[in-house]
């Protein structure tokens, strides 16, 4: 299992598209967005959490793209004729998703602290990183659900749509305070808004709101079920 995790993490990190799109892009967008227009100080911190979240969501979804690719080339089928159990493969893939979100989170937080002068206590940095890391699990499951259900190309498109749609709706790119009322209400139900809220609460010095945890837990269950259903549907013809 650990070997599988190592192999898949290695394969992911060798993917130039992943490194550029999943890690470099959020950092660049963070730096760009925080150097345009007036700055009220809070935005650099808010955008930092938002972009770290955006990067994490992108990387988490990317795990599903990997699954779709491995299905298409027959690698998952090949694994089925090794002593590895299907359960080990799925768990290994989920863990791969959890590992590969870390570089994006860390990179954006480092950019915030070193380049944008965001000042937080040590426990806040650690807690934000930890919460964003754990909070990305629902998105990994969403990606896996897409990857097990859709073809390689469709998975790429679906993941992209999920990533951009959820990022914008959830206020990862622009603060939701800029949204009209109805959109802000809608935003409150998105997993991405609640995901970022985990980080922004801590940055503001208090624990995440129970609402954030509740909504995120519901999404975790929803995406988890989606992943299980997708997997079951395709398991026979992997």
């Amino acid at each position: 299992m650990l070997d599988y995790l190592r192999l898949e993490v290695r394969r992911t990190l060798r993917d130039a598209g992943f490194v550029i799109g999943g890690i470099a892009m959020p950092v660049l967008m963070y730096l760009l967005f925080t150097h345009l227009g007036a700055d009220d100080g809070g935005w650099k911190t808010g955008a930092m959490v938002g972009m770290a979240g955006y990067g994490a969501v992108g990387c988490a979804l990317n795990t599903g793209g990997g699954v779709a690719e491995d299905r298409a080339i027959g690698w998952l089928r090949q694994l089925r004729v090794t002593p590895m159990t299907p359960r080990q493969v799925v768990i290994g893939r989920t863990l791969t998703g959890s590992v590969t979100v870390l570089p994006a989170i860390v990179a954006v937080l480092v950019a915030g602290g070193l380049l944008n002068g965001v000042r937080l206590d040590a426990w806040q940095w650690a807690t934000i990183a930890l919460l964003l890391w754990l909070g990305s699990v629902p998105f990994t499951l969403l990606g896996l659900g897409n990857g097990y259900r859709l073809s390689g190309q469709t998975t790429g498109v679906a993941n992209m749509a999920c990533n951009l749609g959820l990022a914008v709706l959830g206020g990862l790119w622009f603060p939701v305070t800029l949204f009209p009322d109805w959109l802000r209400t809608l935003s409150g139900y998105t997993p991405t808004y609640r995901f970022a809220q985990l980080g922004t609460s801590v940055a503001a010095g208090h624990a995440p709101a129970p609402g954030a945890l509740a909504v995120l837990t519901l999404w975790l269950l929803a995406f988890g079920s989606y992943a299980v259903l997708s997997y079951r549907r395709s398991a026979g013809n992997i």
Partner: protein
């Protein structure tokens, strides 16, 4: 565990049936492969080879009948690391090196062979550090072979292992396969190349329309359809009565030359001598090509909804009427394309 005395066979199918919708891919396959055998599964595209292999590996469950590996369900053998496979549709795994990939797979098995040994057997020791997705088609194929044997499994299954290989790569591949088989492993490979089945397998299973239609060595198959061909010039005489000569199974006229398929060439030739009919006599063993074509002549319509009716497995009588234009190497073309009809018909048009 099973009814047999001593160790159970490596592979055992009893009346296995598998359909996909209206396509009866496997229609009641019975077969046994003993440990240490090298067996070819020979059939044209769509004959049921890949489905048989999927059943064998436990990737697909049979609708009816049973499949056992080493006396237990296929999954148990796969989980125990007794099976290695080279699947037909596998492509290069991106962004890993050859050594990383083979090392990973070897590590899944309880008693793998050293990775260097696996690479050497597959003839890719010099490619160890290369990325798998940057290799040529033939090299990728050999990587997949290394993946199949890395775990040192007792049974190795190769689904059309030489498809898309050029002649040289093919020879290198079979040399590797033989070294592996010589270690006492059981090998099952599928192919639609007759000469490969003949040259590299101890035993050939001919599959057609989802059934095993013949089972034996290449020699036995050739003999089963009429051991040899006796050809001679008619030199103006008629063909009347030639079918009735001893040993003769069928007759074929091409121009002024007649070809008799016979299961006793000595008796046939002696009788011909008695008739003073020997002109430009030629006696040749029947080729496996011909054996294969005869065995599968009409059953090739596997995907027919409703299924083709069962055929007598070995039927020289079917050939007796043939005045086929298919000559020395009949119907090679018919074996390659996804031909749904007997190659004889296809060619005769």
């Amino acid at each position: 565990m099973t009814k047999t005395t001593g160790t159970p066979p490596a592979v055992s199918f009893t009346g296995a049936v598998k359909s996909f919708g209206s396509v009866h891919a496997v229609q009641g396959v019975d077969l046994r492969i003993s440990r240490g055998e090298t067996v070819a599964l020979l059939g044209r595209n769509g004959a049921g080879k890949s489905t048989t292999i999927s059943l064998l590996l436990g990737l697909t469950e049979p609708d009816e009948g049973g499949v056992e590996l080493f006396g237990g369900p296929p999954e148990a053998s796969v989980r125990a690391g007794r099976v290695g496979a080279m699947l037909q549709e596998g492509r290069a795994v991106p962004r890993v090196t050859v050594r990383e990939l083979v090392t990973f797979v070897a590590g899944r098995y309880p008693a793998p062979m050293p990775v260097a040994r696996a690479l050497e057997l597959a003839g890719i020791a010099d490619l160890a550090g290369r990325r798998v997705d940057r290799l040529s088609g033939g090299q990728t194929q050999r990587v997949r072979f290394a993946v199949a044997l890395a775990g040192n499994p007792a049974l190795i299954v190769l689904d059309e292992p030489t498809a898309a290989l050029d002649v040289e790569a093919r020879h290198a591949f079979w040399a590797s396969m033989r070294s592996y088989a010589r270690l006492g492993h059981t090998v099952l490979f599928s192919t639609h190349h007759l000469e490969e089945a003949d040259a590299y397998a101890d035993r050939i299973l001919v599959i057609d329309a989802g059934r095993i239609v013949a089972d034996g060595t290449g020699e036995q198959l050739k003999r089963a359809v009429g051991g040899s061909l006796v050809a001679f010039d008619l030199a103006g005489r008629g063909t009347a009565g030639l079918e009735l000569l001893p040993g003769v199974l069928s007759l074929e006229v091409r121009g002024d030359r007649v070809r008799l398929r016979t299961d006793d060439s000595d008796a046939t030739v002696t009788a011909l001598a008695g008739l003073d009919a020997i002109r430009g006599l030629e006696v040749a063993p029947a080729s496996l090509d011909e054996a294969f074509l005869l065995l599968t002549a009409h059953g090739g319509s596997a995907p027919d909804p409703g299924g083709a009716p069962p055929r007598t497995p070995i039927g020289p009588e079917r050939a007796s009427s043939s005045n086929s234009p298919g000559g020395g190497t009949p119907g090679r073309a018919g074996l390659h394309g996804p031909a749904l009809h007997g190659p004889r018909e296809t060619e005769a048009s």
